[in-house]
Structure formats: C-alpha cells, structure tokens
C-alpha cells in the first residue's frame, strides 16, 4: 500500500494542490474563509490577494493588458512579478501541472486517449503555442482588448467553478474532446499560449528533473508517460544531466516510473550522484 502511494506520490500531490487551490478560492469567496479578518485568497487565477496584502496576478494577462496600451495599477504588476519569480524558481510550467484547472480535464482526456483511441487524427507542431502566444499579444495591440483572456478556456473554467456563469464549460468540453479523440495533449502540449508563456519562463527555472545517465538503461518508460516526451531526449539529458527544456511541466510522472531511479527532482546545476537515492538493493541486484 505504501509502495503504491509512493509511486503515485506526485500525482496525489498535484491533485491536492490543484483541488486545494480551487478550494481556497471557493472557500474565501463563498465560505468566508478568513484569517485575522482578511479573506485567505480573494479573487481568481487572473488576479488575487493573499490575506488582503500580497497581490498575485497572471503575468500573461497583465502583459496582454499592457499590449492593449493600458497601464494597469501597480498592484497587478507587483502580483505578476511575484508569480514570475515564484514559477521562475519552481519551473515555469509547474503552474500547468500543479495549479491549472484545465490540467484535470486534459489529464483525463490523455488517459482516455492512451487507453481507448491512441491514434492522432493529425499532428500539430509543438511550437504552435509560441505562434499563438505571439498572436495573442499582437491581437491585443490591434483590437485593444486582452485577446487571450477573452477566449481563454482556463479563465472560463475557473470562473465557472467560482461563480457559475454558464457556457464556460463549452470550451473545456471542446478541449476534452480534442485531446481525447483528435490530438494527444492537443491543448496543453501544442496550443495553449499560457503554457507557451510559462515554457519560455521555464527555460530559466531552477527546479528541474535531474538525470543520472549512468543508471539509465534506455528502457523508454519515462517517454511513454511524459506529456511532453520531446523534453526527455536522452542524448540531450546525458549531456545536461537534467531536463533543461522549458516545456517540462515538472509533473513528476517520469520519476516514480523509472525502474532504475535515474530521474529525481533537484535544483538546477546540482548533480545527481549514485548515492543520492538509497542504492543498497539496486547495487545488490547488479
């Protein structure tokens, strides 16, 4: 039992942070959760306040607002910088795998895709998200409205959970069907410009999946579970000793599945040593 929990530990933790975040928002809004008279987490994923003092803001949304030619209040800029630093340390797309509510839907769709219809209808380039990111900024400047925020299924789903507006689920349903039946990881892995934004940030991120080339047997288990398998290019990994691609979501799927324990979370620049993981029985097997 303990072994099962251990092998699913990152999935369990991810679901806990995802649902926990939503719960904090819902509790603060509808349940009046507060501490010292201040709501715990007031707002939504676009912009919020922790305990009425620390602002948080979606840096991509603030950037789009900036591109519309409007200087928002200092508060959201501070909030955006806090978020940038936070995910700059913890790996940009950590947001995608550990917080984003749409990840719940796309993970389910990806699982269904794997177990029911594992063929893609067509292929999309993974870099498409950067084009869409660029278009979101360009369109914001041209039409004077934050282009992605106005169509974002992430915001729509999140606001749907918090406020119940109706029709917000249609985009989410579309993503679910697309990811399940058309292209594997179609939304998160190819289209989402917010994911693209955090991918760019993730290039400088400090929390990385470390790789121990001397242990790896090239079995390929990690690649089958990874939502962005191109980041697990073993040649590149052997050279860098870690996953350096910003597209890595730090979801931690690859870590427990590796039979040789050659993958571990660690800080950028540090090295996995053979003694990092309790090695006794492995050395014994060898």
């Amino acid at each position: 039992m303990l072994a099962i929990i251990k092998s699913w530990r990152f999935l369990i933790l991810r679901r806990l942070t995802q649902f926990g975040t939503i719960l904090l928002f819902v509790g603060s809004l509808h349940g009046g959760w507060s501490w010292f008279g201040q709501p715990l987490l007031r707002g939504d994923l676009s912009a919020s306040f922790i305990l009425g003092t620390i602002p948080l803001a979606d840096p991509f949304a603030v950037l789009q607002i900036f591109f519309t030619g409007h200087l928002a209040k200092v508060e959201v800029w501070i909030g955006a910088i806090i978020i940038l630093v936070f995910y700059g340390l913890l790996g940009g797309r950590t947001w995608c795998a550990w917080v984003c509510p749409v990840n719940l839907v796309t993970d389910l769709a990806g699982w269904l895709h794997h177990h029911t219809l594992p063929k893609n209808l067509f292929s999309l380039p993974r870099n498409l998200r950067y084009l869409i990111l660029l278009m979101a900024l360009l369109l914001s400047a041209i039409i004077g409205l934050p282009a992605f925020e106005w169509v974002s299924p992430i915001g729509a789903m999140h606001r749907e959970i918090l406020f119940g507006l109706g029709l917000g689920w249609t985009g989410v349903l579309g993503i679910f069907l697309f990811d399940w039946l058309v292209v594997k990881q179609g939304w998160c892995g190819h289209l989402c410009p917010l994911g693209g934004f955090y991918s760019l940030l993730g290039r400088y991120a400090q929390l990385r999946v470390q790789f121990n080339a001397s242990r790896c047997t090239h079995c390929g288990e990690c690649g089958t579970v990874c939502p962005e398998p191109q980041v697990l290019n073993l040649k590149q990994l052997a050279k860098d000793n870690q996953v350096l691609s910003g597209a890595c979501t730090n979801c931690g799927r690859c870590i427990p599945i590796c039979p040789e324990h050659s993958l571990q979370f660690g800080w950028r620049g540090t090295q996995l040593t053979n003694t990092y993981y309790p090695p006794q029985h492995h050395l014994g097997e060898n």
Partner: protein
Amino acid sequence: MNSRRDFLQKTIQGAALATSGGLLWSYLVQRNAQAVPFALRPPGALPEADFNALCIKCGRCVAACPYATLQLAPVGVGAPLGTPYFQPRQVPCRLCQDIPCQRACPTGALSPQLTEITAARMGLAVIDTEHCLSWQGLRCEICYRVCPLREQAITIDARPRRLSKHAMLLPTIHSDACTGCGICEQACPAEVAAIRILPHAWVQGKIGDHYRLGWKQTDGITQTFTPALSNGENSSSAGGLDYLNDPELKY
C-alpha cells in the same frame, strides 16, 4: 533548391493560417465586446473600451460588494462574459461611502480617481412618462422618495390641473447629479419599471456648440459679447459688426 522552396511554401502557408486564425479570433473577441450596450458597470468604471481592456475578470469587485449587487456577466445578458455588471431592478447599487468594489479592483478598470461615490456615473435614470404612475396623475413619487440624492438627481415638478383634480407631481431626472445607482428602478411599483437606468451614451443627446442659450449668463453670450475674429483681432476694433446697437457709429 527544393528545401528553399519548401521553406518558402511553409512560411507562406503558416502566415496565411496565422492571418485567417487571427481574423477569426479577433472577430470572436470583438463581437463579444460589442455585445455590451446595456451593461451597467460598477462605480468608477472607465469608458467601455478602456474598461474592457483593463478588466482582468478576477471577480474581486463582485466579492467585495456587500449587497451582492455586482455579478460577473454570464452568457446572454449583453455584457462580455466574465466582466462585472449589475441589474438594478434586482439589486441596485447602494452607493457605499468607501466604494469597496472600486478599491478591490487590482487593475484600475474601476478608476482609483473616483473618491466620492456621488461622483459615480454608472448610468442615467430615464423615465418612461407613458407608463409612469405620477405622469398619469396618480400620487406615487416613490422614485423621488427613495433617491439617495433627492432634490439633486431627481426633483418633483407640480403641474396644476383643473379644479376637481389635484396637481400632477412629476418626477424629473437631472443628469448632473444622477449616479445611476438604480435604487429608483428597483423601487418603481409599475409592473415593468417605468424608470430605468441606461448607459449615458444611449440616452443623452448633445446640443452642439454653435447654439447659444442667451439667457444663461454663464456661457458668455451677453449684450456686450464680441466674438473673436478668425484673424485673432477683437471684433470691437473691426467695426461694423454691431452697428445696429451702436448709436455712435456713423456710416
């Protein structure tokens, strides 16, 4: 050679895809933005275009509103999805002195320059005189009595009638003081409210600068007024313009 052609073709195809996708995308966004006309915004909201650009849709104004006046717009109410609005017939704005919704706004879509709630201009009350009870000759004037800016935003004019009937007491709105809070709209006893809050742009006309209301001293047109000439000279030195009123002039 072949790869260069390939590259060019791919580039052109990609550009075409991006352009058509972008057109579709901006069409969707702009159509959503134009669905707006009847939406009443929280106090301090910037003009609609600026408000739409700045609103990050966080819902903090909604959470801050102590009367549950504000809502994030669902589909089909005329306001862009997820932006705050209110329906005064259901819950009007109670004009909180400390303006909690505006202070909660992180982006400034609800302008921080609004410091006095009575300076808010969320909309303008408009009376449908054909269905207003007071305008039919009944005693009502409820809108007048509930108005938080009574005698400024709304006044009662008495219109005498023939001897056997009491005078009509007619409510009149004054746009220089009406905040558009909608307390009158909620209170109106008519089956469908005969006084309603509408966005200023939809109900307010404009006289035009070339009309002079001569009896209003404030606009500067008095007996001694002399318009400046286009060459910058004062017309009094030009002569001839005002000769009918000047007995001293000899031509």
